[in-house]
Every structure is written in structure tokens, then in C-alpha cells.
Amino acid sequence: MEIRRDVFKAIADPTRRAILSLIASQAMTPNSLAEHFDTSRQAVSKHIKILAECQLVEQQQAGREIFYQLNPEKMKEVADWLAPFTQLWESRFSQLDEVLHNLKNK
């Protein structure tokens, strides 16, 4: 499984993260998405374009409208890639919690 580097770059941006969480529950048009942001519509479109380029977002045509929806498979790939690191740190930190807890009680 090869993940292009720009996937991670794409999700590192706070606006793009917000877009992903908005469309996670329902497909949205570019206009309805843009209403959630203070930036210009062009700026939002640019973010969507980046997300679409790395397949995190898919387009759907419904009549005249274009809807964007999340590609859960791609999101899963990202999560899978990070999983070993997440496990490593969570394991470490659970133990660190215990160490700190013991320090407090001394």
C-alpha cells in the first residue's frame, strides 16, 4: 500500500481538516461548504481541490450541483499508516501516566 506524501500534507492543514469533518456526515456542495468558513470561496475550492487530488474527497454530480463526499477508504489508509505510531505512543504514555501517578503519591 503506497500512500502519496501529499495525503499527510493535505490533512495537516486546519481548514482542510475542518472540511473533512464537515463532509464526514453528509455530502456537501462547494457553496454550502464555503458558508462555514470566513475565507473566500476560491480559497475553499482550492482546499477541496487538494483534498480531491489525493482522493480524500470524491465528487458526485446530482443534476446541476456537484457534491463532495469523504472517501472513507482513503481515510482508513491514512489511519492505518499512523496506527503503529499511535500504538507506540499510547502504550508509552499509559505507562507514563502510572509513573506520574506513583510520583504524586510518594
Binding site: 506524501r5 499527510f8 500534507k9 490533512i11 495537516a12 499508516w81 499512523l82 496506527a83 503503529p84 505510531f85 499511535t86 500504538q87 507506540l88 505512543w89 499510547e90 502504550s91 508509552r92 504514555f93 499509559s94 505507562q95 507514563l96 501516566d97 502510572e98 509513573v99 506520574l100 501517578h101 510520583l103 504524586k104
Partner: protein, 165 residues
Amino acid sequence: MENKTKITKSANRMVVLRNFDAPVPQVWRAWTDSELLDQWWAPKPYKARTQIMNFIEGGFWHYAMVGPETEEMWARFDYQSICVHDYFKGKDSFCDADGVKNEDDFPGMDWTNTFIESGEGTQVRVEITFKSEIDMEKIAKMGFIEGFTAAHQNLDHLLKSGAVR
């Protein structure tokens, strides 16, 4: 009370954020005192074992991660700059039992660990910069990290069941 670990990655940099329910001096101690580090640094079922610890600028921590079959993985953390109760920076490399670095396979990672007061507790920010994205992939694919998965789930169960604490 649940403190979540947040991990983000961009290009060759990884940032790990986590809150702890203890004041900065205690958390700092847990990160810089080898006796305490040995208790938590290695994810289960591994155990960290310190060989040498010299927590000063220019000093280093030489330690082994010892597995359940007593297999050893040696590493060292060279401290480059230290600002007490604030941050420390250094370089983490794999090495052998004598501390000789193995920089051919892994060129080492640059670390900045920052400790920020957050209410009654502490937020720790770990920033790891890999020499290249390829190195990062190598580390991600290393078996010993993958092996932690099952063990971690066990620990999670223990913590949730209240058996620990």
C-alpha cells in the same frame, strides 16, 4: 479523565501532543531521570534498561529496549540543548551495545520535547523530524513497533478495568 494522544504528520515531521495530570516539574523528571524513563519509555512488552544516562548538553542516554525473549534493541539519545522545565532537544539514533551509532540504516531523528503548563497539568509536545520521509516509512514498518499493537490493547483493558492504579 482521559488524555488523548494526538499525532499529526506532515512530510518528514511528526508531532505528538499529550496532556498529563501532573505539574511540569514532575513530568519533566519522568522524561529526564533514567530510573523513571526505564519504567515507561519502552512500550509493553518491552522494557527499557539504561546503560548510561548523562542528562546535560552534549551528554547522552544509552539504553536498550529489551523484549520478552530478552532480545535487545539499543538506542541512544544525544542531548543537544536543555532548558529546564521548558524543553530539551536532541538526536535519537540506533546503536549497538557499546553505543556505536548505526547511521547507515537509520540516520537518526531530531527531537524537540516541549513542556507546557496547562491548568493543573502539563501538555507535552514531541516533535520528531526524520532525515527523509523514507526513513519515517522504514521506522513505521519496523516489526518491533507493529508488535506493540496487541500488547497495548491489553494495557488499555487493564487501565479501563481499574486493575492498574
